[in-house]
Subunit: 920 residues, 2 copies
């Protein structure tokens, strides 16, 4: 351990109260000892221990027990694995106290107290020590219990479990060895499941287990219950520094000096005959959020049996008939716990011979739908306030309402053909493709929906993943390439489907033993639950008009300080944006309109023009289209601002690609040799001429790095006719709408400024056009001219730029590319994925704004810009505008608005409110 | 005039002394009136007036005269073109004073005083009014003078000149009209030159001129000398606001409120018989800088005759024989003026009947060689101090010593075939090519030296210009595309050769009437002087070891605070760098070594490797080459640091290009059809397979924006084998040299860092290799690891990066590309040239660091980096490292060094010293 860590640990010990053991009913003492805060109690007793003590205080029936503190663990580890002074004595006293409470005695064959031992640190953490049940059993106690219960099978099953758990967990005997003897016993008995083994079988197994224990540990299984307790306690302490635990803490950023507590609790048995039962239940419906108990239980069974799925569970509502009083009691307890924790509870219970015991409670996991409904209901029930409700729903949960899910009807009666890890949520339906090229070809050229299935994915596969609806892999985990890429691009994915085998030669895959699926067959996947179904299942888009969601968003709107606008290129997008609550258009990409089939010929004619006259002829034909698009936008956004960005991409994007033209020409020349009629030849020659012209122009426009080339304002300066046409279209549309009574607020945005003079030159030319049009149409509309801040130099010289621009809009996509010197197209299919996997970068900077670098530029631009022009309107229109973490940054920077895809507007509204709450 | 300008003018007037006229001998009064500063005297009297007054004070014989102040001009213009109160009266008094001094009288036919009138503002400025000579002549005075001089021809020549100058300059009569009558007279007299016209001819011309004057101005030529003087004075004032003058001031950034002075001076005549003469002389040799009078004179002649070249001038040394006393007097005056102005003087003089008059003195123009020698000599003569010498020589003049010039021997006896504007200095020799493609093909494919000749150039021509040795155009001026591009790329160029005509169809050009040059013929151009010669002339590189230059640079070294290092990839570059005074290698580009013919196969093998084993096999073959290069560098730089940058470019740069491979494959497939023997076919198929493999790999490596793609540290992280090999080679070489007694100071530089974690990961891996090698070789050398700062994010997060890096090196080429979002390759052949031409950008940011944007990032990086690591070594290794303006910025930022091409090291040494002096 480093010196620093040792010192921190010493301080931690020094700051702790000297008391090392607290009974569950001593929570007030613990609170007093740590100074009153519940957070400090959790630190001292661990999450599990604190909650058990808390339930005890609430008079919820919890089997008596006690917690050895995290401070004891830290002291033990600091002292070369020696219990701190007085700790063991305190533990023994606590056992006495339990004996008193239960009327049983530890190690007493006539009336034995059995206990469980569980680890429990402040944060739930895989890699810590597993549970040991039934501590306190030995040969004598077993004999005594057999006498009392008259159930030899039951008692020996308990005993062999203790030896097995103790052996594997405390002493490190491989669990497989124990399991092999059970398999052996089943085979010899000729039965299928453990439950069918007889008492004699278990007696045999127990004897074998003792032998195994001796062989592996060179010592007998300790028959002294106190020895068992001491070793179990030590094992929990040691597991804090186990490799998996340390790795997990490093990965999750949990401090190494917290330590773990040890919870010792009286055993209760749900398999103690027909009056006994065990189960789990939620205080509300975890799928819909409805206010009703939801869960399952099993009569005469143990918790393990519920999990193992070997017996059919009963719905919790059946308990009402079976044990009405117990059911009532449980219902009341659930309500009490909800009121206490102000959240839906997920509870484990056991009924031992007619008495209800709660073994655990925690905040329940739930669907997004349920989260929203429960938050809203709880506000109306007075359990929480609006701020808490807004804080509680994750923006990603709002996303649920906007993306397809497999319909409940489709999956209700259907078993998945395979399951794997649910690494990227949502549903996807498509035909199976086994490689990236096939996936891309089918999707792009043939318009098919594809699910790409691979053993695992590599950077070479990214183009296929992007074309696919969803992804399935047979290997890989949550941080695999497939998982990372899928999440990045919002593709539903199921990875690590271990019983899936792909035969690329046969173009088919086998699931399990028998099911063979050929490439091209339909499958459906549920990335939210990690399931794969056969066939083409129905999907549904959950309703954005869900009344609970609308209410929650209206509360968010009351809280948030930053406006939420949308990026919309067409009137239909603008309408959707309004519907989702956007109060402005932050980005209309005018060039998207150029790509429409009917317009492309004119766009290409404009680019191929040999002179300004020809160019203007082509532009004159485009103008009416643009004008009518803008009219639609203005009408949809009546009274709200509309920011229109002038043409941005390099011109070559509007022409066929170089590769395509070269290929076409080669093909045409080959064809030419096979033509016979003069008209065929003439036609081919004409085609060759056209393509050659295109090729020549494409060659002329070719750039080494088009991203950093002739585009944006550079294009506007060198070929001013295009942007002039666009501004004419904007103002003709604005004047027309204005005369019809629509309130228009156009803002013209010039992209890619890096030097104020570029803006000066272009803006001056365009303002002249705007004034001309308004003169011609005898109409005045209020307007603004402004620029994107998407090049570092623009941010660095924002003071100069603000002298000219009336508004700034951060184009964080390009700003990220240039600030990182990283081409997104190239990076995301190569090193970026590896960077994320190796944690060289924590977040994908194209998904979440890089606060240190890009964020620093943004801060400079905001400060310098507003110094020069205090009323400067500043927003963001990159994809980050819909990312909650980035929205938080925009709120910190006091931007006027974030603008995002209409689909993300609800998410942004919520995230913006949470940013405010985070400040409070 | 704008309100603002009017206000500034009023303030200027208010601040001026009320005296409007100063005699040349009243310089002390002027000094007192403006508060003592010479600068203020120049503002008040203009440059010419101040210098005439100054010479008068120095007892240099200057014809008496006076200056009407710039303040008078401003007052005149502000008062709607009315003389300010008292000005005219003061001018009349000044005339009286001259009359007294000269013993002549203005308008007196018996003893007439004639004067000249010249404009003169603070800064020399084209577009201002021309000189008017001989003011004071009229019919009566002419008669009187004829009597006195007995030289009717002389007197009428003076008279017609007055009418001509007054008519054209003051009254706006087109000069061509006057000139036509002189041509007429020559034709009628049957003579070739004006000097051969007789007195009668001039009398006739004078009469015609009077008629012309009357016809054009509707008034007679004013016979009143005072009327002549008044109108001439007003004409000078008005010319301040003439269109050409205003345009010039706008372009040159000269304030519009300075005003011009008017200088009235007694006429003296060098054509007053054989005892008279006129000439110009420099106080030192303007070509070599030797300390001797240098110039020409003409007996019995006027200044114009010297300029017109109609008579053969005599060298100034002949004056010693002709008029020994005058020569001595002149020599003494020259020495006195040099001592006064502490600079070499360029003097105009006139000898009127045995008396010497100085008409002008100013600092003389000289060659770079002369500038350097004069500066050094003057220090040794005690005229100036070392600082002044260092300040005086321009860094661009040092450049002269490093680049080819046409040899003096070659041009001594040769006339240029054409002249044009000298827009980009240096000599170039090559064969004529008339278009860019031809120029490029000849240069690149055939290794020929080419001079590209075009009517004018456009962005499409840039590839040809880059391939050419030099450029000639028939049209265009100093700010034409050709001029800008040529200067950018250091290509000698002559533009605006107006008598050049290019016939593209015939592939030939005609110069003047007769000379025809066919494409492919040799020409030589002198961009320094704007001359074109026929044939292949010899060039020389002036000697860098010039003792004057070495002395000057040694003084610069004493002054400068920043170190000057060099960029060197090979031992031979390092040796040159040392020779030129570099004290370190700031950048060794290791990948340049990869491009050597013998190494390329291994580099390609490494890239085509199917697995790590194959890759390492190839790298093992490259290692010895790299190691031996590094050994050479370390030896050459014994005792000085060597910064070695690890591989930077994307791998595809080492493979054939996509276009090339596609073409090759198409060709091979066509060939295949024509082969007959099996072995031919086999060979072709083998070739196709290899090329196909290459093509596949090139496709895999293809990126949309390679500049922002998989290169630099990204490559080092994804394929660590390459950089590991390089570091091994560095340390093997370092240890070997160290053992031999060479003092090695290797610094390993990791390129393209944008996030500290990239550096952390790569540096850790490489430090391990370094330690391993030193362990193996049982040798320790001091080393550093550091990074390029060439991505905005690196500069923005310099504090984090400085935690890992021991040094920073600003890669301002890439930093400029990313900060501007501008790909240099694309920009310089398209919009950037237009931006510079339209002054959207003042400087090419790839030549001179953009201080506002890139400079701001650099400042942040220096401050943040040094805060974390106070001894952080910081330098610059982009091309800007050799640019004086950028070096000044680096000095301001307190970098440790600038690193530039070895050829620019002397320039950088001087510029670095000047940066210090600018601070003082």
């Amino acid at each position: 351990m480093s010196n620093q860590a040792t010192q921190a640990l010493q301080e931690n010990i020094a700051a702790s109260p000297v008391r090392y053991v607290y009974l569950f009913n001593e929570v007030e003492s613990a609170e007093t000892d740590v100074g009153g805060s519940w957070e400090a109690v959790r630190s001292l007793l661990g999450g599990k221990g604190a909650n058990l003590a808390d339930m005890t205080r609430l008079d919820v029936p919890v089997p008596p027990g006690f917690t050895v503190t995290t401070a004891a663990c830290n002291a033990y580890l600091a002292a070369d694995e020696n219990f701190p002074e007085g700790m063991w004595e305190a533990e023994l006293q606590a056992v006495k106290a339990i004996e008193t409470m239960t009327g049983k005695a530890f190690g007493d064959p006539d009336n034995p107290l059995l206990v469980s031992c569980r680890s429990g640190s402040k944060f739930s953490m895989p890699g810590m020590m597993d549970t040991i049940l039934n501590i306190g059993l030995n040969d004598d106690v077993v004999q005594g219990m057999v006498k009392q219960t008259n159930d030899e099978r039951f008692v020996y099953d308990l005993y062999r479990r203790l030896i097995q758990m103790f052996g594997s967990v405390v002493m490190g005997v491989p669990d497989e060895v124990f399991e092999r003897f059970i398999t052996d016993a089943r085979e010899r008995a000729g039965v299928e499941i453990d439950a069918e083994l007889s008492a004699q079988d278990w007696i045999g197994v127990t004897a074998k287990f003792k032998e195994v224990f001796r062989t592996y540990t060179n010592s007998d299984f300790p028959s002294d219950p106190y020895e068992q307790l001491r070793l179990a306690t030590e094992a929990v302490f040691k597991s804090w520094n186990g490799r998996r635990a340390v790795d997990y803490r490093n990965a999750a950023g949990i401090a190494h000096n917290l330590g773990t507590a040890v919870n010792i609790q009286t055993m209760v048995f749900g398999n103690f005959g027909e009056g006994s039962a065990t189960g789990v239940a939620m205080s509300r419906n975890a799928f819909t959020g409805e206010r009703e108990l939801e869960g399952d239980f099993l009569i005469n069974a143990q918790g393990e049996d519920v999990v193992a799925g070997t017996r059919m569970t009963q719905p919790i509502s059946d308990l009402k008939n079976f044990m009405p009083e117990i059911y009532n009691q449980f219902e009341q307890i659930a309500a009490r716990l909800e009121k206490h924790y102000r959240n839906m509870q997920d509870m484990e219970f056991t009924i031992e011979r007619g008495k209800l015991w709660l073994l655990q409670t925690r905040d329940g996991k739930r669907t997004a739908q349920a989260e929203v409904r429960i938050a809203v209901d709880m506000v109306e029930e007075g359990l929480i306030n609006k701020e808490t409700a807004v804080r509680r729903v994750q923006p990603s949960q709002v996303d649920f309402f906007l993306h397809p899910q497999l319909s409940q009807a489709a999956t209700a009666e259907l078993d998945p053909i395979a399951t794997g890890m649910n690494v990227s949520p949502g549903a996807a339906v498509g035909i199976v493709a086994f490689d990236a090229d096939t996936a891309e070809r089918w999707a792009k050229n043939e318009g098919k929906k594809v699910i790409m299935v691979r053993p695992e994915t590599k950077p070479d596969d990214v183009h296929g993943m992007l074309s696919a609806e969803g992804i399935v892999t047979s290997s890989g985990g949550r941080t695999s390439h497939a998982a990372l890429v899928a999440r990045q691009f919002g593709k539903p994915a199921v990875v690590g489907v271990s019983n899936l085998e792909i035969n690329l030669d046969a173009r088919e895959m086998t699931i399990g033993e028998k099911l063979v699926i050929t490439e091209g067959e339909w499958v459906s996947i549920d990335g939210t639950l990690g399931r794969v179904y056969l066939g083409k299942l129905d999907t549904v888009v959950p309703d954005i008009k869900n009344p609970y969601l609308l209410k929650l968003l209206s509360w968010a709107d009351e809280i948030r300080e930053i406006n939420v606008w949308a990026n919309a290129d067409y009137p239909r997008d603008a309408e959707r944006a309004r519907e989702y609550g956007a109060t402005g258009i932050g980005l209309c990409r005018t060039e998207h309109m150029f790509f429409e089939t009917e317009r492309m010929p004119f766009v290409q004619q404009m680019i191929m023009a040999k002179n300004v006259t020809e160019r203007n002829e082509a532009l004159d034909k485009l103008l009416p289209y643009q004008r009518s698009d803008f009219e639609g936008l203005f009408r949809a956004m009546n009274g709200y601002p509309v920011i229109i960005r002038l043409i941005d991409p390099p011109l070559h994007e509007f022409l066929p690609s170089y590769d395509e033209l070269v290929q076409d020409l080669a093909d045409l020349k080959v064809q030419l040799q096979h033509f016979h009629t003069l008209s065929e030849i003439d036609e081919a020659l004409g085609e060759i001429k056209i393509k050659s012209n295109y090729l020549e122009r494409v060659m002329g426009l070719r750039e080494s790095n088009p991203m950093l080339g002739m585009r944006g304002v550079r294009l506007g300066i060198i070929i001013p006719e295009i942007t002039k046409m666009q501004v004419r279209a904007i103002f003709e549309a604005a004047c027309k709408c204005s005369k019809e009574g629509v309130k228009v607020l156009p803002e013209v945005m010039i992209p890619l400024t890096s030097h104020v003079n570029e803006l000066r030159v272009q803006q001056k030319a365009l303002e002249t056009v705007a004034e001309e049009v308004m003169e011609e149409m005898d109409c005045r509309v209020a307007y603004k001219f402004g620029t994107m801040i998407e090049i570092p130099r623009a941010a660095l010289t924002a003071d100069e730029i603000a002298e000219v621009a009336q508004f700034f809009s951060f184009g964080t996509n390009d700003l990220t590319q240039t600030t990182f010197g990283m081409s997104r197209d190239d990076a995301e299919s190569s090193f970026l994925i590896e960077y994320l996997g190796r944690q060289i970068l924590e977040d994908n900077p194209f998904a979440t704004i890089d606060e240190k670098g890009v964020g620093r530029l943004m801060r400079m631009a905001v400060e310098d810009g507003r110094r020069v022009r205090p009323d400067l309107e500043i927003g963001i229109c990159g994809e980050h505008g819909g990312d909650p973490k980035s929205i938080d940054l925009c709120h910190q920077l006091k931007l006027n608005y974030v603008s995002c895809s209409p689909f993300r507007v609800p998410i942004a509204r919520l995230a913006a409110a949470q940013a405010v709450l985070r400040d409070r």
